[in-house]
């Protein structure tokens, strides 16, 4: 391929190139800046992301295939990339103070986050099983390291090790599925794969391949039965990284799943039955196990499992509305989940961790404004209107019922009633108990900004969903 032919491809992948180059420069520059210059690092990392965002919005428009159809810059990927930028910018804002307290504020921290971002971006744009694999590995390798970043803490080390081992196994299974597909169809490009199959889509070999690929991908979004790693990793990882992982990499996983599962080949193999079962079981397990959690981060881990289950219902529904509902769900989940995690991160001050739910007793009496914010996030996570969390669930239900899956919709709402219990239990602890100790949350201006943005998103999308809904509907690929 000559240079001139390569140029459109380079242009299409400009945002990824910016992020990777920026991360490399930051890695070197970070070694040269003296200690205690955290503010410079954060600003530089933010600048890189903003530059990439600028590039994304400049080149966006019609779908541009690149690198021999292994990669595409289309509205679908732009939507997900915007979501990733939002997630990582909020993570940067939340990290500044927390990372100082935990002593992990080196340049590597920000570089690894940026590299993870580039992996996620590649995943959102990938249209070939191999480029998906490259993005996936880039992302998870960074998150493995970030999970174990609290070097002196046993929980963190243990979590990282678990994550690496289980993650490697699941990647192996995914690759095995890819190799089967290649053997059967002679290609790994998603569209060509579907075109190559002329016979029965329920061919046992293909079915086996699909099941392997499903397994590998479902692991990444933490759905049952491949969810075992989620609570341990979420609890052990630095809270900022947990916050990031619960929205960014999870959304990236969903982006890939949407592309792969709605591919005609996979869609033709009745895989939705598997998905429906996974969705029901995932929501059930997440909701019921969360009921008995005492640790806030663990509770949020199970809550994120339950939410993944609900979002999978959108994939089960399929069609333009189904895809758009998953995308909108992930966007809204990013706002509300980063909001609640931001509140937990803010509690980390001095020797106070704020990881146990009982720590929040009487919080509303000490800090009424912050308690009101947390109330907003919690009711949004529970799906009570007029918050965005309700609209997210509502749209998934609309997509499900449009396809005639009324029974699944009933199961979904009944399980979310169960899930509502543990969110309002936290509200109860905050508002209906007397404070046992006085503490001061670390509300720095950066954390305050992050909380304001997430609160605006959580309430704003709830009250005025029209614009975001249209954005999601217009970003659906192929429609």
């Amino acid at each position: 391929m000559i240079a001139a032919a390569l140029l459109p491809s380079i242009l299409a992948s400009l945002p990824e190139i910016i992020v990777i180059t920026g991360a490399c420069i930051l890695l070197i520059a970070g070694q040269l800046t003296p200690k205690g210059q955290g503010a410079v690092l954060v600003s530089a990392a933010v600048a890189v992301v903003l530059l990439a965002a600028l590039a994304t919005f400049t080149v966006s428009g019609a779908a541009q295939p690149a690198y021999a159809d292994m990669f595409v810059a289309d509205p679908f990927s732009v939507f997900f990339k915007s979501l990733f930028y939002l997630a990582i910018l909020l993570t940067f804002l939340l990290s500044r103070n927390y990372a100082e307290i935990e002593g992990i504020a080196g340049s590597e921290y920000y570089v690894l986050l940026l590299l993870a971002l580039s992996g996620m971006m590649i995943m959102a744009s990938a249209t070939d099983l191999l480029s998906i694999y490259v993005g996936l590995e880039l992302m998870v390798l960074c998150t493995y390291v970030l999970t174990g970043f609290l070097r002196r803490e046993q929980r963190s080390n243990e979590a990282a090790l678990k994550y690496v081992i289980l993650g490697a196994v699941s990647t192996g299974i995914f690759l095995y599925g890819v190799s089967l597909v290649y053997g059967l169809t002679g290609t790994t490009q998603l569209d060509r794969m579907a075109a190559a199959v002329t016979g029965d889509p329920l061919d046992p070999g293909l079915l086996l391949a699909v099941v392997f690929i499903v397994t590998g991908l479902v692991f990444k979004i933490g759905a049952v039965p491949f969810h075992m790693w989620v609570p341990d990793v979420y609890e052990g990882a630095p809270t900022t990284i947990t916050a990031f992982m619960s929205v960014g990499p999870k959304a990236a996983g969903f982006a890939v799943i949407l592309r792969v599962f709605l591919n005609p080949l996979v869609a033709g193999s009745n895989v939705w039955i598997i998905l429906a079962v996974i969705a029901v079981v995932t929501m059930t397990l997440g909701s019921f196990v969360a009921l008995v959690q005492e640790n806030f981060k663990r509770l949020l881990a199970y809550s994120s499992i339950a939410h993944a289950g609900f979002a999978i219902f959108g994939i089960v529904a399929g069609g333009a509305d189904g895809i758009a509902s998953v995308m909108l769900y992930l966007l809204i989940y990013t706002f509300m989940n980063l909001g609640i995690f931001g509140a937990v991160i803010m509690m980390r001050n001095g020797n106070f961790s704020g990881e146990v739910i009982e720590d929040y007793a009487g919080f509303a009496k000490l800090h009424p404004g912050l308690a009101l914010l947390m109330l907003l996030y919690l009711f949004s996570l529970a799906g009570i209107p007029p918050t965005a969390g309700f609209f997210a669930k509502f749209y998934v239900l609309v997509a499900l019922i449009e396809r005639g899956f009324v029974l699944l919709a009933v199961i979904a709402v009944l399980l979310s009633a169960v899930a509502a219990y543990f969110y309002i239990r936290i509200v109860m602890v905050m508002f209906m108990r007397e404070p046992e100790r006085v503490f001061e949350p670390a509300l720095t201006p950066l954390v305050g900004t992050a909380l304001a943005v997430t609160a605006a998103g959580t309430l704003g999308i709830g009250l005025f969903p029209a614009w975001f809904l249209r954005l999601a509907q217009q970003s659906v690929f192929g429609g």
């Binding site: 509303a364 009424p368 009570i384 007029p386 509502f394 509502a420 309002i424 109860m428």
Partner: protein
């Protein structure tokens, strides 16, 4: 577009709530909250004054696009069925603020914010012409009500708040599914008026009827889904009880009138006997439970279950008398039971006991209090000349016309009402003045009178001259019955 009066009514309390957040002194909070509820009441009176009783069409209609991609609009409007409830909500909002003036002494600002937010949402429920908007308001009410019961309630408040929240949430989620199914059946619209035009197959109607029934029956509440009510009432602060009994319970019955009957006529007719049986059972069962209570608030709470039985009985009698009676009776029940909870709250502030056994001879200590208390007790047992008499008479006539047996049971329930109410009044107010020896009871003051008097006015007004109220209801009821019987085709 005409003057957006309904938007003003709906958003005035919410605006007040937003302003309250910036105030610091508790007194300022109280006065501003009072100001906004007064303003809201003035708007509501203006609405009633401009209400055209000659038509069954929606009035003061406003319509703005909200989520065009899904056919969701922000549409408001009132007809004869909802107009009285908009007014009732505004009236009880004012009473609630007055009732909480000194009863709420901590976190006053948060309380008033919750109360005003609650009022906006309740008004939204009664004036919504879009099913999505209706559901959003219906469900969002859980948040402020959960806080009102759970933060400012009695000793068992946390349990009561959870029970209230989960019961109502579980009930309304099935309703949500029903709403979305209806959305697709109606060709992707949430427009309530358009959905009333639908003629759905009977089996679809049946399924939807039961999905709606769960949500509405929890709110009413109909036996056997009533168990949250005594807990919530007993634990809630006075204003919470007034709102619960006065407005929230009406929403379930309003749901039947607004959705079940016109949208699912065949199923409504088919299951009307079942519904009347449940109602008649609730009348007697609630009355018997009330007879056995020693706690004043519990007694009034169980009496509510009994009285709401009359309302649902009248609705599913499906004749003009029954429907008119039940709508009027809902208004009456809001006034009378709201007042009874106010009175229980007033005496509790003074004595800190709700046990009937602790009282006696209150009349000698607080004659004005007991005098007005007598008025509302008599109104609650439907003495001729009071408001509830008119409502109950209409309901019973409608009930007898529809089904002799259920009418007879309901009359027995009305007798029970006299028994437990008079019994309670005798033990509390009459007899030797044992209560004065143990508690320092002062009579009602000016602020309390300001809360009591408007309610007392309606007891007499509806009781002696119900015509203006029935005129508001009349044409909408006729229209509703037409909708039911025109499309009624059994299985």
């Amino acid at each position: 577009m005409a003057f957006p009066l309904l938007s003003l009514i709906v958003f005035a309390p919410a605006t007040g709530a937003a302003i309250l957040m910036f105030l610091r002194s508790d007194d300022a909070v109280r006065w501003v909250a009072l100001g906004f509820t007064l303003l809201d009441l003035a708007f509501a009176i203006a609405m009633l004054a401009g209400f055209d009783t000659g038509t069954s069409a929606m009035q003061f209609v406003e319509k703005r696009p909200w989520v065009p991609a899904l056919g969701i609009t922000f549409a408001l409007g009132v007809d004869g069925i909802s107009a009285l409830f908009v007014f009732l909500t505004a009236l009880l909002g004012l009473v609630s603020v007055l009732a909480s003036w000194i009863a709420i002494d901590r976190k006053v600002k948060q309380f008033m914010v919750s109360l005003l937010a609650m009022q906006s949402l309740m008004l939204g429920v009664f004036s919504a012409l879009d099913l999505f908007l209706f559901y959003v308001c219906w469900e969002a009410m859980l948040i402020p009500m959960y806080l009102i019961i759970g933060v400012w309630g009695g000793d068992g408040r946390v349990y009561a708040a959870f029970k209230f929240f989960l019961y109502t949430l579980a009930g309304s989620l099935l309703f949500l599914i029903g709403v979305i199914v209806l959305y697709f059946e109606g060709g992707r619209t949430f427009d309530i008026l358009a959905l009333m035009m639908l003629n759905l197959p009977f089996d679809v109607q049946s399924w939807l009827f039961f999905a709606f029934l769960v949500a509405f029956a929890v709110k009413v509440p109909m036996v056997p889904l009533h168990t949250w009510l005594p807990d919530a009432h007993v634990q809630a602060p006075t204003a919470g009880s007034i709102i619960l009994a006065g407005v929230l319970l009406k929403m379930g019955a309003y749901g039947f009138l607004r959705f079940s009957l016109p949208m699912l006529p065949a199923a409504s007719v088919y299951y009307s006997t079942l519904m009347m049986a449940l109602s008649a059972f609730a009348i007697v069962y609630g009355g018997l439970l009330a007879l056995a209570q020693d706690d004043l608030k519990k007694l009034v709470a169980y009496s509510s279950i009994s009285h709401m039985g009359f309302v649902t009985l009248g609705i599913f009698a499906l004749n003009p008398l029954g429907l008119q009676g039940s709508i009027l009776q809902m208004f009456n029940h809001g006034v009378t039971t709201g007042a009874l909870f106010l009175f229980v709250g007033l005496i509790y502030e003074r004595t800190h006991t709700r046990s009937i056994a602790d009282y006696g001879g209150l009349m000698k200590v607080a004659p004005v209090y007991t005098g007005f208390f007598a008025l509302f007790v008599l109104s609650s047992m439907a003495l001729p000349g009071t408001n509830a008499f008119v409502g109950e008479l209409l309901v019973l006539s409608g009930g007898f016309a529809a089904n002799l047996a259920f009418g007879a049971v309901a009359v027995f329930g009305a007798l029970l009402g006299a028994a437990y109410l008079l019994g309670m009044y005798r033990k509390v107010a009459l007899g030797p003045a044992s209560v004065g020896a143990r508690f320092k009871v002062r009579d009602v003051n000016g602020r309390e009178m300001a809360a009591i008097l408007p309610l007392a006015v309606f007891v007499f007004w509806v009781g002696l001259y119900p015509k203006p109220f029935l005129a508001i209801i009349d044409s909408s009821v006729t229209h509703l019955l037409q909708q039911v019987h025109d499309k009624e085709t059994g299985p």
